[in-house]
Each structure stands twice: as C-alpha cells, then as structure tokens.
C-alpha cells in the first residue's frame, strides 16, 4: 500500500509500505494493506512505517490520518526523526 507522511513544511515519507503504526487519540493502532476507509485523529506519539527496505520511525505531536483504497495519508503538525 501507498503511504504518505506530510507536514506543512515538508513531505517526510512517500512510498510503498507493508504496514504503519499510528498513535490514535484513543490508543495506538496499526494499519495493514486493504484496511477499511478510516479517518482518525492522532495524538502525540511515534509513527512507525514498515517498508520492505526497513522501518522508519518518527515522533509526531498530533495530526490526522486517512486510509482510503490502500492509500494512507498522515498529516502531522510537526515531526521529529528518530535514529
């Protein structure tokens, strides 16, 4: 599935992924391929994108995620990359 992580200042991640873990306001959850359409508010926490080449982990301060037709768009207010 296609994953995009966008902030007002830049596009942090854009590409294929096998799964993404998101910090929802009501608790953390994971989205895999063929997930049902979903819009969720995100709280503070870490986003983990699992891609074939390896995982990317970033910390966000809140935002929104939309899942539609195997496309996940994450809008974060600000992002801090982790090693």
């Amino acid at each position: 599935m296609q994953v995009e992580l966008i902030t007002p200042d830049q596009t942090v991640f854009s590409g294929e992924a096998t799964g993404i873990k998101l910090p929802g306001v009501n608790g953390s959850f994971e989205v895999l391929a063929n997930h049902a359409p979903l819009i969720s508010a995100l709280g503070e926490g870490t986003v983990r994108i699992n891609a074939k080449e390896g995982a990317t982990t970033v910390t966000i301060t809140g935002g929104f995620a939309e899942v539609l037709n195997n496309r996940v768009v994450v809008l974060a207010e600000s992002v801090r990359k982790e090693a």
Partner: protein, 297 residues
C-alpha cells in the same frame, strides 16, 4: 583640477557604490523569493488534504456540529492581525499595508476605535512602526518576530493564541491584513476575515455518496472539533508565507528599479563630468597659448 570636476567625480563614485548595493540586494531577494515560493508549494499538499478530510467528514456525518470558531456574535471587540515585513527597502510593500489598515479602521470601525475596542496584533516590525500611534488601539507585539524564525510551529502558536482569544470572547471578529503574493511584481494588499469562519458547507451530493463509508476515530462530532483548529492554523501559516513571498518579490522589484535609476543617473553624471573636463582643458590651453604669445610678443 577645478572644484566642480572633483565634486562630480565623488558623486559618480557614490552612485556606483549605491548601485552595487542595490544590485546585490536584488540578487539576494531573488534567491529568497525562490525559497519562499518553494515553501508555499510544499505547504499545498498538506492544506489541500486537510480540507479534503474535512469535506469527507462533513459528508460522512449527518449531524450538525456546533463549532466554537464559527460563532457569529454582535461586534464589540475586534482584533486586526497586521502582517508586514521586518525590513524596509521593498517599495510600497509596508506603507500600502499600513494605509489599508488605517483606512479600514477609520471607515468601518471608527465607533469601536473611539470606545477603545480595537486590538492590533503585529507580525513584522514595519507594521508596528507605522501604526503604533493609532489612537485608542490596544497594541500587541508578542508575535512580532515570527519572520526571524519562520516555521509552522511558531505561526501555530500565534494562531492558537488568536483562536483562544476568540473562543474566550475577548474579540468577536478577527481580520488579517497581509500582502497576497500574486507574482514576482504584483502584491495585493488584502484583508481577510479569519474568525468567525464562514459556515461549513457540505459538498455536492455525488461526491458525498462515494466516500461516505469512513470509520471515524473518534466518532463524527469530536473529530471535527479537532480538525477545525488545525485547518485554521494552516490558514494562518499560509497568510504568513504569502506575505513572506510577497515581501521578497516587492524587494526584488524595488531594487531592480533602483539599479536602473542609478544607471540613468550615472549616464547623466558622466556627461556632466566630461563636459566640465573639456571646459577645463580648453581654458588651460587658452591660458598657455596666450601666455606664450605674451612672452614672444
């Protein structure tokens, strides 16, 4: 060398130096402008997606959610956010803004002004310089220096402060004055109502049908409450980015003009200089010739 000749020469040198400065400033402004427009472009996917989500949510939920930021109240207190630049030398960029703000206050809000119910919030120094003597206005400068470190976070803090003030009924309307960036040479001084936000409208039927089976997390109403402030922050940030790009555009044009003017001036000065030099030589020759004639005579 006669005094007149030397004077002209000093002027030529000084004009040349000024021209060097304006030329350099023009180049700097051009590269800053490129970066500023890049920022606007980078921001676009975020803001489009955000409003798309809002339409999805509104079309997916039937309920009419009351939004604190859209509440229309009788006008008692107004806040104007005045976005200008920190530095001058950019043509009419700042003075146009100051003029627009002054005119709006005088023409539309003079009653509130007399009652001291107008607040002015400044983003950028020049607006403050131009409007600090406005009578009966409450001046706020806490976010004046956003341009020193322009980032979404800093803009968001200012936007949050404004939104909190509105929700807490400190002001009943917030208008933003900023220079809209149209292209490199055109900036449009614009005023825009920031709060209360115009009523949200559900999209056309066909579009709504297609996407209406979303799962919402948290359910319907609550998610809108979260989304609206985010959209407002983004909007506020886009005002500032727009003004930033417009500033560099204005400076570039102004400096380009200044360089051309200097060129023109130099041409004239050179002509004067050559004429004066010619005159001096002629006088000298006449003196020598008549001196020699006197000796031989």
């Amino acid at each position: 060398m006669p005094a007149a000749l030397k004077e002209v020469r000093t002027r030529i040198v000084s004009v040349k130096n000024t021209q060097k400065i304006t030329k350099a400033m023009k180049l700097v402004a051009a590269s800053k402008l490129r970066r500023a427009t890049d920022r606007i472009v980078q921001m676009r996917p975020y803001s489009t997606k955000l409003s798309e989500m809002l339409t999805n949510i509104i079309s997916g939920t039937e309920l009419d959610v009351p939004i604190a930021h859209a509440e229309e109240r009788p006008l008692e207190n107004v806040l104007f956010v005045i976005v200008t630049s920190d530095r001058g030398l950019c043509g009419g960029f700042n003075s146009n803004m100051v003029r627009l703000a002054k005119r709006t206050i005088e023409e539309e809000y003079s009653d509130l002004q007399k009652a001291g119910k107008i607040s002015l919030m400044f983003v950028g120094k020049k607006g403050f310089d131009g409007l600090k003597r406005t009578e009966g206005a409450n001046l706020r400068t806490e976010y004046q220096e956003i341009f020193k470190d322009l980032s979404f976070e800093n803009a968001a803090v200012a936007a949050e402060n404004v939104m909190d003030g509105f929700v807490a009924k400190e002001f009943d309307r917030v208008e933003v004055f900023y220079n809209q960036f149209k292209n490199q040479i055109t900036q449009i001084p614009t005023r825009d109502q920031f709060l209360p936000i115009p009523k949200l409208e559900a999209p056309a039927e066909g579009e709504a049908q297609m996407k209406s089976d979303f799962i919402f997390e948290p359910a319907g109403g609550a998610i809108v409450q979260e989304l609206v402030p985010k959209i407002l922050k983004t909007k506020f940030y886009s005002y500032i980015l727009d003004s930033n790009a417009a500033e560099h555009g204005a400076r570039m044009t102004a400096m380009d003009q200044a360089t051309d003017n200097a060129e023109e001036l130099l041409k004239e000065l050179k002509l004067t200089y050559n004429r004066a030099r010619q005159a001096a030589i002629t006088t000298e020759i006449t003196e020598i010739v008549s001196g020699a004639a006197a000796l031989n005579g």
